[in-house]
């Protein structure tokens, strides 16, 4: 980084909506006990698909969280965003006027589920309900959060870098805090399950019929999921001055683009992104205690990602887990929920497991902490995210104190 005097960045608040638990306590319990979010999909019609399992959020009550705007104006992903941001702000104990703020949320589909309904109305020749077009713009995720939290001096952006978007958002927040652009950043990601994503992965033969089993020799693909994760970032000095609880520090991050295949990850490029992040954080590979992998559970992803991990970390890489085994692939929320898992692993002293695991694929050759969490003192944890389009992002978290 060319700015030599960057401030240290603390994570002081977490908010979660997920299929394995909503709120920090419930999510932590889910990660620790290896809860599985898989269940039959109900949010769209799955008639005609041979299998129809996904990691859906059930029992979500938008009215509980959306109070400053009409609920019907928000799509499901924006509702998740509002809920996770409110939880994170409360968890951090933020003031009503936190100063210069950032809201940066990553997403794959934004309001795409509303777009699908519009397309369906046209196909079925029925009238399009007036509220549906309002829910479509992806920018509505960040705006809904700013509105709900009453922020005005705010740098709002919705980062639409597909399945790595959560890490992109955290990276942007890290730079904004580290360089003094803003005083507080609410960063993360959100997505709602939609037909398009499910159908696309299904057609590619990349949806597992039953369960998500990353790194397993018999893995058969992703399960689509949904949810939101938001982290509150602020200058470490500020967090200390106000006596905030510090979950972890963001040490640095890396971004790059494969500029190659539209859907297949590139081993060298993924390795390069990890090295960028390690350099930015000033951390050597031997200091990394845990990798929360992108770990989708597809044949191609897990083999390529583990290959890149071996390239960077050598023959004995750190434990490498996939929280997608529990949460499914929550798209734009995925690396945000994974980042929160990293912060909780550091604070609570455990490694979340890779569930549904029977036999590790020799082509992966990592210790994925199968099925049961283990206690561990963790100093540095790495969070990987790879996306269609070759958008890679890796974030490093460290223990504070």
């Amino acid at each position: 980084m060319s700015i030599t005097t960057r401030q240290r960045v603390a994570v002081t608040g977490l908010g979660v909506v997920s299929s394995i638990g909503t709120g920090v306590a419930d999510y932590t319990a889910g990660l620790r006990t290896g809860r599985d979010g898989a269940r039959p999909i109900s949010v769209f019609d799955t008639e005609g698909f041979a299998h129809r399992v996904g990691c859906e959020v059930v029992g979500f009550e938008p009215e509980r969280w959306v109070t400053a705007q009409p609920v019907e104006n928000l799509g499901r992903a924006a509702q998740f965003s509002v809920a996770a941001a409110r939880m994170a702000a409360d968890d951090a104990g933020l003031d009503a006027d936190p100063g210069r703020a950032m809201v940066c949320l990553g997403t794959t589909d934004g309001g795409g589920d509303a777009g699908e309904r519009i397309a369906e109305h046209v196909v079925r020749d029925s009238d399009i309900p007036a509220e549906l077009p309002r829910r479509v713009p992806a920018g509505s995720l960040g705006v809904a959060v700013a509105r709900e939290l009453g922020l005005s001096d705010v740098d709002i952006s919705t980062v639409a870098t597909a399945c790595a978007a959560g890490n992109y958002a955290i990276g942007n927040g890290f730079d904004a805090i580290a360089s003094g652009d803003v005083d507080v950043a609410l960063c993360g990601g959100a997505d709602a399950m939609c037909r398009m994503t499910f159908t696309g992965f299904y057609r590619l033969g990349a949806v597992d019929p039953e369960r998500c089993r990353p790194f397993d020799v018999n893995r058969a693909g992703i399960l689509t999921g949904e949810g939101a994760g938001v982290l509150v970032l602020e200058p470490l000095d500020h967090a200390l001055a106000r006596g905030a609880r510090i979950y972890a520090e963001v040490l640095g991050y890396g971004l790059n683009c494969d500029a190659g295949h539209p859907v297949a990850p590139d081993r060298d490029s993924v390795a390069a992104c990890m090295r960028l992040a390690l350099d930015d954080a000033g951390v050597t590979p031997d200091r990394v205690d845990l990798i929360s992998a992108h770990g989708t559970g597809t044949k191609a992803n897990d083999t390529t990602e583990c290959g890149a991990i071996h390239d960077v970390f050598g023959d004995r890489p750190p434990r490498t887990v996939s929280v997608k085994s529990m949460l499914g692939h929550t798209m734009g929320a995925a690396s945000a929920l994974s980042a929160i898992a990293c912060a909780l692993a550091i604070t609570e002293g455990f490694v979340p497991p890779t569930i549904n695991h029977v036999e590790t694929d020799p082509a992966c050759a990592i210790d994925c902490v199968p099925n049961e969490s283990v206690p561990a003192e963790l100093s540095v944890v790495q969070n990987n995210a790879l996306a269609f389009g070759g958008n890679n992002s890796v974030v490093l978290f460290g223990r504070y104190g």
Binding site: V122, V123, V136, G139, V159, A162, N256, D258, A387
Partner: protein, 343 residues
């Protein structure tokens, strides 16, 4: 001061292909003729990029399922040429290619099996497709981001891209925005005549050895005011703190009467009514959505090229959207006329 400069720009716009077509068009100030369009989703008059057939422009390889948004971005980077493989790309959007998303959904709903969709279409349905394709076609391995900020994408993209450069994460960035026209977008944006296009600025830090600057990015700021984008804009303009008598030119980016009124009033409240050059590209080529704010910047650069009075002075481009977001970008014009993006 951001320490970031604009050293080139280009566009594919309703005026035609390339920088010169757009620059001549906005300087002439005569609106483009809208054309009648019709597809499976809607019929409408719109301002489209002329003669832009994807296969004719980019060839057959890799374009069979490509969305128009991505194709416009790939072709606009081609206008500029890629200076360095570690260059980044930051593109603004509203929701990506609505047409591709709608077609994919329709196929799933109407074919004999719900999964009889075209798998090659899937990456093009995602919002990051345009930036990713621009990288793929031109070998750009730097940071590659897509910012969905609707009509406020100009200031949002500039704010994000200048941060990437200031923090040393990229050696240069193609920063801009792209919006396609389609019947699907008509269903999402009723009540105005839509336009389309892609516009890119090449940004670098102002270091010795970098290319000559057309302008320096003095500030890029975004604000939010629930239900009151005009107030967000006045606060943003006050935040960046430009002195009205330093301002040579103002670009108002909105195209619809209702938003134009809000934008014009807010800009006038802070900057006064005496700015010599005021440009409104949206009145010439319709509502280009996410691209409108960067088109406004390009319009200022086009006018400054031929106006001696611009040298050393400030240019301000403003944006507002219905959701209450607003922002502005302030440039200092260097007076350098030779841009390497000229073709």
């Amino acid at each position: 001061m951001t320490g970031v400069v604009i050293s080139a720009w280009s566009a594919l716009s309703p005026f035609g292909h390339g920088r010169t077509a757009f620059a001549d068009g906005v300087r002439r100030g005569v609106p483009v003729d809208p054309v009648s369009t019709k597809d499976d989703w809607a019929a409408a008059d719109a301002y489209v990029v002329p003669d832009f057939d994807i296969v004719a422009q980019l060839g057959r390889k890799g374009t069979g399922s490509m969305d128009r948004t991505s194709a416009l971005a790939v072709a606009t980077v081609r206008e500029l040429g890629a200076p360095n493989p570690t260059t980044g790309v930051v593109l603004g959007t509203t929701s990506g290619s609505a047409r591709t998303q709608f077609e994919f959904t329709r196929d799933s709903l109407t074919r004999r099996r719900p999964y009889f969709v075209n798998p090659a279409q899937m990456p093009f349905a995602l919002m990051n497709s345009a930036a990713a394709q621009a990288a793929m076609w031109h070998g750009l391995t730097g940071p590659n981001s897509t910012i969905a900020a609707g009509r406020n994408s100009g200031p949002a993209v500039l704010r994000y891209a200048t941060r990437l450069l200031r923090t040393g994460r990229a050696s240069g960035v193609f920063a801009g925005a792209v919006e396609e026209h389609s019947g699907a977008r008509e269903l999402l944006e009723r009540g105005q005549t839509l336009g389309e296009g892609c516009v890119l600025l090449f940004l670098q830090t102002a270091e010795v050895g970098n290319r000559a600057a057309l302008a320096e990015v003095v500030a890029s700021d975004t604000r939010f005011s629930d239900g009151a984008p005009g107030r967000a804009l006045t606060e943003s303009l006050r935040q960046v703190g430009v002195a009205a008598d330093e301002v040579w030119g103002l670009a108002l980016s909105t195209a619809t009467p209702e938003l134009s009124e809000v934008e014009e009033e807010a800009a006038g409240e802070v900057l006064g009514q005496r700015i010599g050059t005021v440009v409104r590209p949206g009145r010439l080529m319709g509502d280009t959505g996410a691209a409108s704010g960067v088109f406004a910047l390009a319009a200022l650069l086009a006018h400054a090229e031929v106006d001696e009075r611009a040298r050393g002075r400030l240019a301000v481009a403003t944006s507002v959207d219905r959701d209450g977001t607003a922002g502005c970008v302030v440039l200092r014009l260097t007076g350098s006329q030779k841009a390497w993006g000229e073709r």
